[in-house]
Symmetry: D3
Amino acid sequence: MVYLTRRMTFSAAHRLWSSFLSEEENYEVYAKCANPHGHGHNYILEVTVQGMPDERTGMVMNLTDMKKVINEQVVDWVDHKHLNYDVPWLEGVIPTAEMLAIKFWERLERGLPSGMLYEVKLHETENNLATYRGEA
Amino acid sequence: MVYLTRRMTFSAAHRLWSSFLSEEENYEVYAKCANPHGHGHNYILEVTVQGMPDERTGMVMNLTDMKKVINEQVVDWVDHKHLNYDVPWLEGVIPTAEMLAIKFWERLERGLPSGMLYEVKLHETENNLATYRGEA
Amino acid sequence: MVYLTRRMTFSAAHRLWSSFLSEEENYEVYAKCANPHGHGHNYILEVTVQGMPDERTGMVMNLTDMKKVINEQVVDWVDHKHLNYDVPWLEGVIPTAEMLAIKFWERLERGLPSGMLYEVKLHETENNLATYRGEA
Amino acid sequence: MVYLTRRMTFSAAHRLWSSFLSEEENYEVYAKCANPHGHGHNYILEVTVQGMPDERTGMVMNLTDMKKVINEQVVDWVDHKHLNYDVPWLEGVIPTAEMLAIKFWERLERGLPSGMLYEVKLHETENNLATYRGEA
Amino acid sequence: MVYLTRRMTFSAAHRLWSSFLSEEENYEVYAKCANPHGHGHNYILEVTVQGMPDERTGMVMNLTDMKKVINEQVVDWVDHKHLNYDVPWLEGVIPTAEMLAIKFWERLERGLPSGMLYEVKLHETENNLATYRGEA
Amino acid sequence: MVYLTRRMTFSAAHRLWSSFLSEEENYEVYAKCANPHGHGHNYILEVTVQGMPDERTGMVMNLTDMKKVINEQVVDWVDHKHLNYDVPWLEGVIPTAEMLAIKFWERLERGLPSGMLYEVKLHETENNLATYRGEA
């Protein structure tokens, strides 16, 4: 089993705000991340697939195909967008790094050959990131 | 003359849109950067001052003081904000990296000892940045 | 299960020296790392917790709380310190990256909610790092 | 169990070309990576060993020894070389990141104390990398 | 005057060899960089233009146009190529970082609006780079 | 004129303390940097020389020679040392990044061909650096 990772970047705005919380609780939990007009990040997304290299090509998966799937399933939807307003499949999702990693996993699993997706890492800033491996 | 640089980061949303241009021209010039709800970046701001080190302290300027000025004049105003709506002194400014570098220079020059500011570098993404040295 | 990582940095001095070894053996094992006055590093500490995101907040853990624990249990004790002399809970510990990772884990486990700590990564330089997951 | 990682770099040329494929298929699969004279990369190799720190030294393995093994088994053979022509033990191997990671693992396992090698990561560019842990 | 920088990357092979030197001298000067089949790098190219931001757009130059010029004049010619064999306008040029920076400047100056090009930086590895500003 | 830069790293301990200041003033100015046993950094040193590439070699200066001079004049003296106690030519110097950049310039100028040294950059952490170009 070899793991192959493709790194991609996108820039997006978001606001952390929960409909389960009062305005006061929202500011208590999210502090400046709850500011009304939102803020933004240069996200770094690292997608890892697993498999044995094909003997004829030496590849677990063609990086060109991998990039195409990541763009079609995730990056083209979120790049230069506001995550709270512009992405249908993020409707009702609080766009923390954790929740985005889970949602990106669900989208990527649909686009990639069955059983190949191993890990999604989403860096929100140089100081924090979320990792999801599809574990319940 | 020694140059001393302090790097700081902030996260903000912005939208590129010019009131001098028609809607069609705006999308032609700014493309996806003109999306209505904006997007965002992890900005990296590098501020450089110049001077001779003080013989008693070995410092051109105390980095603690430098950080305080950068926070008071710039970072506290823009961090976790939407640059088109939330910053009074950016009103009417198209928030490109170039324009932000100029505006940040003007703010920093006011807060720093006269003649010390040498350069403002503003990285918008890992692939582009603007540099301003106060030159006309 | 989602993994959430917070990266923090601190600067410290240390000297590698073992009381189990003779002076000659110490220099043989640690070479220039055994120099008497010590040297130092900009350490990068990456702490990872695991859990399911809370439905009401979308968070595995609030990054602000996480930062507070890491500061209280580790960073405030070691930042701008000499690891051989200034940290009571490192007394008698040879401050290699491996031993520090283990000690930091023990401190963090005490400060974090039970069962949440997943991994401690400690980068000593850009070329070496130790990882500890609490495995015996 | 603690994991200790040593990062090293080397620069090499390679060409992706498979003898199992026709010329047309080769260009279809590898695109510009199939250009006849090859291209090249600054590879980053991260080797991780596992073990308990020795009580007398605080070390899982001496980083100096680890560097020596990595040089002797891998880096001295591939640095400033063309991977398709200059490395006897890569003869007949399609030099994708995946295949190189497997071959490097085999070489390193031979040079390191039995059971210590945990992981080989090979970064080909800032955007892609392969990871191998010796799993069948 | 504001300076705007666009960073781009490409991967290429090269061999350092001078027709002015004997075989022995070549190996003495270039050492392993003279190996016959060449080696390669992930080059990082930073191109900086200078100007005043346009009042109507807030831009010194549209980054999309800048990227297009850099691709047409430089990156499309050198990416995934062997610099000694595949690039007509590098024929007879010893492909050191210094010489490449000069040649890239000449190409970029032709593609950019007159007087705008300020600086070309070419990183060959994480440890060395050449900078050219068109100075005689 | 082309500028050629070589990056090197070293790890050292230091303490900021001025004999011109009282103990109270020292802690006021240097805060935690004045802690008695010192702390340390992974310094990054970037040395830039200027010149025209030699027609026969395509080089401003051979990077191997440049590395040799930087090691002999600076890195071998400071790596894995305590800058306040172990370096004869830093005696009496307050080891701020600014003062170190000046002292390193003086040492490098002596080792390099006359007139070639252009710039010394010394990064103390990822957030601050000093630059010296020999200007009075």
